[in-house]
């Protein structure tokens, strides 16, 4: 029943997004003449100071072996593990929403407010075909750790499903659960718990 209502909400939200989205949607998600503004498409990433040191196979080198230019760790490497901690997370400049979606206790449904954030970042991804997203699901500390690990996965999967419905290719998204292991707030109170029940969107 829970799943049913969630799907209904998703379908509804997705259709709302489809109606309100300007015609800049890039259906094929490839850089081509159909794009109104190829590349960043209005979104700017802060790529300064981003280091890709130690990433295997991502250096572009000259004939004599000297590294040249800035390297995008993901360009041409769609099989790279998004969970690799060496992979930088890109920050969006002047982002309309923080890349965090919060959840009610023991829930993984996306409400209208959450769907706004999910839609926004789905659009960011659609407009920037080189970027991928790691969706980290978290829970608060209450209850059993293993149930929380599964709950975190449900939350990350809910965001992933919503983004796919909006039009992001599934292979550009990775959902992972961190369970209750990585709280942002350490306190054992309602305010801290509310901040810890979240999915973090990391643009890679």
């Amino acid at each position: 029943m829970k799943t049913f209502s969630k799907l209904a909400l998703l379908a509804l939200s997705a259709s709302l997004v489809a109606c309100s989205t300007p015609p800049q949607r890039d259906v094929d998600q490839a850089l081509d003449g159909q794009d109104s503004a190829p590349g960043l498409n209005g979104y700017r990433f802060n790529e300064q100071g981003v280091q890709v040191e130690g990433m295997p196979g991502v250096q572009i080198i000259s004939a004599d072996g000297t590294p040249i230019g800035t390297v995008d760790p993901l360009s041409g490497m769609q099989d790279v593990d998004l969970l690799d901690p060496r992979l930088p997370t890109f920050e969006l400049e002047n982002a309309k929403f923080q890349p965090v979606i919060y959840f009610a206790y023991d829930q993984f449904d996306l409400d209208a407010e959450s769907m706004q954030i999910v839609s926004y970042y789905a659009e960011v991804l659609i407009a920037n075909p080189k970027r991928r997203a790691l969706l980290r699901g978290h829970t608060d500390e209450r209850g059993s750790t293993e149930y929380n690990l599964a709950l975190g996965e449900k939350r990350a999967a809910a965001v992933k499903k919503a983004m796919i419905l909006i039009g992001v290719a599934p292979e550009r998204l990775e959902a992972v659960s961190m369970g209750e292991e990585y709280p942002t707030e350490l306190g054992a109170n309602d305010a801290a718990w509310a901040k810890n029940r979240r999915v973090q969107i990391e643009l890679k």
Binding site: L83, Y147, S177
Partner: protein, 439 residues
């Protein structure tokens, strides 16, 4: 993927352990009194003053922790006999004590000891039990003390003692913004902690193999939850589940041949049963809800598990032959992490709602009661004799372990200095008794 390959890997993991042995020691603090506890006098053993771990104190603490005994305060003892002929029975009548433990620790050279104990019925004025251990090194004296506790417990309660067993748990230390997780194995009273694995990523859900030789657990060392099996002697470590999605909640079957675990490789957290030798996987739950935290019934024919298919976590039972499922918990809106007692009679769960406490269900009468009063309780596991439950809780803002009797009337805190303790699991009976202990 030969044996040598993962041996080499495991060696790199263990090197750091050898270099920095854990200094953490669990200390025990009695937090509640005992109502119907049996008074007993555990008299200081003659000669134990010269050793670091007084044998009688270990025995007294064991018996006290069980909730079934109330050892007489040392300062109240009218005398300290160490042999039958030294007991002046009249002196002890006023203390309302039925039983007395006396003994000796005698150095026999080369750092070895002989330990002698007698259990005496003070009313009948006769010896109930006498035992002697020869050639015991000082480092094994605690083990001998636990064996004495086991013998006394079984003699006086009719239930096998579980003092000479081990527990596993995870500690978390935060230093300079970094996190240090350690999987440790210690004696059931918290002494002799041995680190098994260190990581700066989470370690979860240790589960003992039924023979006590291996642990299965979840490690995030590759940045996602994956299931590993590791032998306690350090000779063997292998990743057994590293599928896409979560790999978690491993639990050994009672015959040690299978592992129930939770995988979401098909898009949803479901329970699978893995053949430990062939690694063949069989999916056993198929609902679109969360299904996790499998616990085997002692006969191995059914598993209990947590499912939120009704919108909130509740415990269900699945019969593996008939595939029939039934809901087991109905009390409140949150019952997770089921654990079944060794005799199959009781089930412990994490019970949510008004705080998070350990709940206990009598699986025959279906009666349910909350047995802890601590805060954010989780991770319950039964002692191998089914008399006690070890669990993790939050005290003073950090995770600690506690032991509680099934009636909830007596509980104790185990505390690790400078670290949070969590994810506890009580191990099985040890196959062989301590080293060369028995004469």
């Amino acid at each position: 993927m030969g044996f040598r390959h993962f041996l080499a890997f495991s060696l790199t993991v263990f090197m750091s352990l050898v270099m920095t042995p854990s200094q953490a020691a669990l200390t025990i603090e009695i937090s509640e009194g005992f109502d119907n506890a049996l008074p007993i006098a555990v008299v200081p053993f003659q000669g134990q003053g010269a050793i670091s771990q007084p044998v009688s104190e270990v025995i007294g603490a064991d018996l006290k922790r069980s909730g079934r005994f109330k050892p007489l305060d040392l300062r109240q003892m009218p005398s300290q006999p160490s042999e039958l002929s030294e007991i002046a029975y009249d002196q002890w009548r006023t203390f309302n004590i039925d039983n007395m433990v006396i003994g000796k620790v005698i150095p026999t050279g080369n750092g070895l000891y002989q330990v002698e104990m007698r259990l005496v019925n003070v009313l009948r004025k006769e010896q109930v039990m006498g035992k002697r251990w020869n050639n015991i090194p000082e480092s094994s004296l605690r083990q001998v003390a636990h064996q004495i506790s086991d013998a006394i417990y079984e003699e006086l309660t009719g239930v096998r003692g579980a003092f000479n067993t081990q527990i596993a748990y995870v500690t978390l230390e935060r230093r300079a913004g970094k996190r240090f997780y350690t999987l440790e194995v210690a004696d059931a009273d918290g002494y002799n902690p041995q680190p098994i694995l260190r990581s700066n990523q989470p370690i979860m859900s240790p589960s003992w193999s039924p023979d006590g030789s291996k642990l299965a657990y979840v490690s995030f060392e590759e940045n996602r939850s994956q299931v590993y099996i590791q032998s306690l002697d350090g000779s063997f470590r292998q990743k057994v589940a590293g599928f896409r999605g979560i790999n978690s909640s491993p639990t050994w079957s009672p015959d040690g041949k299978k592992l129930a675990l939770t995988l979401s490789k098909n898009g949803n957290p479901d329970i699978y049963i893995m053949d430990v030798f062939t690694r063949d996987l069989q999916q056993v739950t198929f609902d679109r809800a969360i299904e996790t935290e499998a616990a085997w019934a002692p006969d191995g024919r059914s598993i209990y598990f947590n499912s939120d298919r009704r919108g909130q976590p509740q415990v269900f039972q699945l019969f593996l032959d008939s595939k029939q499922e039934q809901r087991v918990t109905f009390e409140g809106k949150y019952n997770s992490n089921p654990e079944i007692s060794p005799d199959g009679r009781h089930m412990a769960v994490v019970h949510g709602g008004n705080g998070y406490h350990i709940g206990l269900m009598d699986l025959q009468s279906k009666r349910f009661k909350v047995i802890t009063k601590t805060y954010l309780d989780e991770s319950p596991s039964f002692s191998p004799n089914g008399e006690l439950i070890l669990y993790a809780m939050n005290k003073g803002g950090r995770g600690q372990l506690a032991v509680v009797t099934l009636d909830g009337k007596s509980s104790q805190t185990l505390q690790v200095k400078n670290a949070e303790v969590r994810e506890s699991a009580w191990g099985p009976y040890l196959k062989s008794s301590a080293s060369n202990a028995n004469p």
